[in-house]
Symmetry: D2
């Protein structure tokens, strides 16, 4: 059974009535609900817990880590970021959601600024599937219509993704590479754009299906981390 840890900053939900109304159990609570229903062993961790809830034991027992953060990226300790980084290189999957694009861990894995254009304009959005053979889009069809989503626009300052999965359309003129995969070390990473804290994207069944698919895609294989360092010749 795939073991998921859902990490959420969990700050907006404590202070902002609109966010509380949308996600009364926190964004992590809503993510945990549908992932548990999908048959995963899902637990949660949040910023204000000791070690942000990401102890060595938790990380060692995590197959796939989900990450949602926004206003407090800088409060995540470098030490925890370093541990998460090592776990990803060792094979743990990582799913970075929405404003997590600016998290320390995502920027460290990408090597770029991960910056973008953004705007909250209470508009709808459309997430186009540009990779119909990919397991992450299984059962999704051609696009996902979102009632409301924050605009994120190009240029998105990331490395060229290994696989481009989704491109989003926004009504006021922008496009965005909203679903992207990356391999780093033995780990698989998926970035997925939907999930503004005051909009209902995580109640959308297709968004849920994408995240479920992504967990299945991102879980580790049974390869050990390769040997690195001085190496004896294989030929004589």
């Amino acid at each position: 059974m795939t073991k998921i840890t859902i990490w959420n900053e969990f700050r907006h939900e404590k202070t902002d009535a609109a966010v509380q109304a949308m996600y009364p159990e926190g964004i992590h609570g809503q993510l945990a609900k549908f992932l548990t229903a999908a048959g995963f062993d899902a637990t949660t961790a949040t910023l204000d817990e000791p070690e942000h809830g990401l102890t060595d034991e938790v990380l060692a027992n995590t197959d796939v880590l989900l990450w949602w953060g926004h206003m407090a990226h800088e409060e995540v300790s470098d030490e925890v970021v370093e541990k998460v980084h090592q776990r990803v290189l060792a094979g743990m999957g990582l799913i970075v959601l929405h404003s997590g694009h600016f998290s320390k861990i995502f920027k460290k894995l990408m090597g770029t600024s991960c910056d973008l254009k953004w705007r909250e304009d209470e508009s709808h959005a459309r997430v186009w599937n540009v990779n119909p053979s990919h397991p992450i889009t299984a059962g999704i069809g051609e696009f996902i219509d979102l009632e409301k989503e924050e605009m994120y626009g190009e240029h998105f300052d990331i490395p060229a993704p290994d696989e481009l999965i989704f491109i989003s359309w926004f009504p006021n003129g922008e496009v965005f590479r909203s679903g992207c995969t990356f391999a780093r070390g033995n780990g698989k990473i998926f970035y997925f754009q939907p999930g503004h804290e005051t909009y209902n994207s995580y109640y959308n069944e297709k968004v849920q299906q994408v995240i479920i698919n992504a967990v299945n895609w991102a879980k580790p294989t049974d390869n050990l981390r390769p040997y690195y360092g001085h190496f004896q010749p294989l030929e004589k």
Copy 2:
């Protein structure tokens, strides 16, 4: 249960004692044996059957097609190649083995000559895993040592693969991108180099594991082929 059709030219085995000795039930027979043992619903088809064994019904009931051919690529009818091509674009997985690099179907899907350097020099080979997070390499470790394999050398005239999985080393000086994935339409394609007709590569357990992994990776998702053509506006 994933339905596999194993297509083999099945000519060398009828005329060449060394090939018969190595693969008494045909290369397709050996492939079918370990794929059946792995729990797949595996059937076979060969060049000299009517429609080369690839009738509309067979193709419609195939999740993943394996392809081994060598001396008689030109005898495969264009009509059958066209049908296989359409099935791949519609989502059927395709695993092209060894000298299948020069098959009509692979060349049609790649758009290049698919040519390469080659030499039979009775030497060993080493297949390096350069993609440790990929499901096709699960459980394979760092490399596969082959007792004997035909040298295939760069330049391999293919499009840049979507994912580079293996690079082979040959003792007399060559390298080869020996495991490559490609998506075409809704279909996933894996090319894998081992499998010369007089060598025992398809008895190698790691080679078998790669092919088993590749079948699981290549099977279709439940996405329909996208709509193409004139399209009504989604916005008003």
Copy 3:
């Protein structure tokens, strides 16, 4: 001096007043005008010339071929397509414009249907630069606004491009990978979406700059086609 051949179907311009009004010297004429002004040695060839204007001598003397076709793709002879294909693999650059996505040569090089969604709705479009370090986007800035362009929408049934250069936004809800590079053999290929026959895109200075940049990018290097076939060992 880079030698360009601009191939145009040149049929709409003979029969359709709106096209004649927009491109009185033919689409090839307008392309030739700004490419000549940019310092290239640009000649033209059209469907109704003998061998479609693409004789062996013309092809042998072409560094970069531009291709615009639409209503008569099927009238292009397979023999000429085969020759162009061989020249691309040997190193000639190829720039495929707009409805050329459905040309025989592009489909042959891609190995897919190259199909897409489309609609003429007299609307504007915006071509976003998603690859700011690429020579094809030099001097283009963040986007190109087109007064009017035909909608081409995803899914665009092509292989994952080697490099994604542009993504287009259309006001009625679609997105499109509108600038894509591909290497095939020794040849470099660029697909670029703008250029509907009744719209003024080829008068747009940024569109012109993209095409000029693409010619410079696509011209052949001085590498010979690699050796293919039986190969003597390099080690003893």
Copy 4:
């Protein structure tokens, strides 16, 4: 005229007679010699200069930075690394040579460990060109034979390169992705493996040609860094 800064750690040359004998003017000196002869405006900078020779002024006036380091990666200040990182994202090209794979700047840009297998066994090596249409391989032909080169072997823990240019073969059984390109922000990066401090690779004319080609490829385009942040709607 493209302005190059060649950064060298310049420590081995001060303490090791074999390195002094091979590169009496330092590795940077030899790189500067053939790059100057090729018509570039090449200057050098070394670790023990103030700010490692990479002042704001130097960086602002550098189109392409070359980087050779080995024993003292940790002595490079984080502040200088941060400045180089920002310059790469802003468009400066970066060519990382040999043991520079383990430099702070390369690891920061890659987001991975950049680790590999290695061995000095006084053997020759062969660098295969797997990208014959790429400007970096122009004039190189099918491979480069090196008299002696340190073995670097897979797995090389880097992200999948945007373009794979070279694969090296080593006689004792290993392969290595020895020429790789990456885009990060507005900057272009090329990693190239040859260049052990006691071997003569930087006197090899084909190695020199690759580096010359890479400088031409990596120089900035005239695109500004895209706008990032809150963005006004383009549509009304």
